[in-house]
């Protein structure tokens, strides 16, 4: 492979970006779900 640095750089960027986006989306969904559950629990406790 004569152009290895170019190829490796392209693959790192191409694989890295979806991984970063996927991780960010996962943590965002998890944090929103936990906050929603906490609010719902507090609301239910307030009603009873």
């Amino acid at each position: 492979m004569t152009h290895l640095p170019y190829i490796v750089a392209a693959y790192v960027i191409a694989v890295g970006l979806p991984v970063i986006f996927a991780a960010e989306a996962f943590f965002r969904v998890r944090s929103a779900r936990l906050r929603l559950e906490a609010i719902d629990m507090r609301r239910d406790r307030g009603r009873s």
Partner: protein, 248 residues
């Protein structure tokens, strides 16, 4: 039917079931396509091993345009039917589309240097994709530029629809102008002019990255729907607390 499926509650239920399948299938196909392209696909007779960049560059180029098309579809849904889910989806597609377009430009540049001898040329294809990147950035900025989110979504939708004109320019730029960028090797109508030993890894990689793009945007939209529900619950709580305080 559209309104039934675009209902936020229905969307959360459906997306919760579909998301793991999209992520895992997309990840698996991407891994196969990328490994196949990097280690097992043959060298090109003219470009040598730099052709391996194609297996990541081409899917990102397709997704840059496809992402913008989906942004435009959401904008139509938002402007015509005023559907709030379409607004949220559009706002979440734009950053992912911008990221994928940036990767398309970066990998193209990394392919251009050893092949053309230049990182960048103001060629019609490269310039029109760069304009697409600016349109994505413009959408992101416009949506966040207003205090009233509805006005931001509306302005972003109009920009997205105006920018659709750039999609056929990107597609046909290599036919309309003399460009350094090569013409398309794969079309919807004719047979591909690429050897099957290169076509298969490219298809795996393209389908894999497409599923990941879909999964990421759906997950982000899901988070945005939940965040909006949190905001409205907190506001309702604050206003009821205010009312009780006023009564006492």
């Amino acid at each position: 039917m559209l309104h039934r499926f675009a209902n936020p509650g229905q969307f959360l239920r459906l997306s919760g079931k579909v998301l793991p399948w999209l992520f895992w299938t997309g990840g698996l196909l991407t891994a196969v396509g990328v490994a196949w392209g990097l280690f097992f696909a043959p060298d090109d007779w003219q470009q040598g091993d730099t052709v391996r960049i194609m297996y990541v560059h081409v899917p990102f180029a397709w997704l840059a345009s496809a992402g913008y098309f989906s942004l435009a579809v959401c904008s139509v849904l938002s402007l015509v039917w005023r559907h709030p889910l379409a607004d949220l989806a559009a706002a979440e597609i734009a950053p992912v589309g911008a990221g994928f377009t940036a990767v398309c430009l970066a990998t193209g540049s990394l392919w251009g240097k050893p092949t053309w001898g230049a990182w960048w040329v103001w060629d019609a294809r490269l310039t029109s994709v760069f304009v697409l990147f600016l349109l994505y950035l413009g959408h992101i900025a416009l949506v966040r530029a207003f205090d009233d989110p509805t006005r931001g979504y509306r302005a972003g939708a109009i920009l997205a629809l105006v920018g659709v004109i750039n999609l056929p320019i990107i597609k046909f730029s290599v036919d309309w102008w003399n460009t350094l960028h090569q013409p398309a090797s794969i079309g919807l109508t004719g047979a591909p002019s690429i050897a099957s030993s290169m076509l298969w890894p490219l298809l795996f990689s393209a389908i894999g990255f497409s599923l990941l793009f879909a999964a990421i945007t759906i997950a982000r939209t899901r988070a945005a729907v939940m965040e909006r529900r949190i905001r409205s619950l907190l506001m309702a709580k604050a206003s009821s607390a205010g009312e009780q305080e006023a009564l006492s």
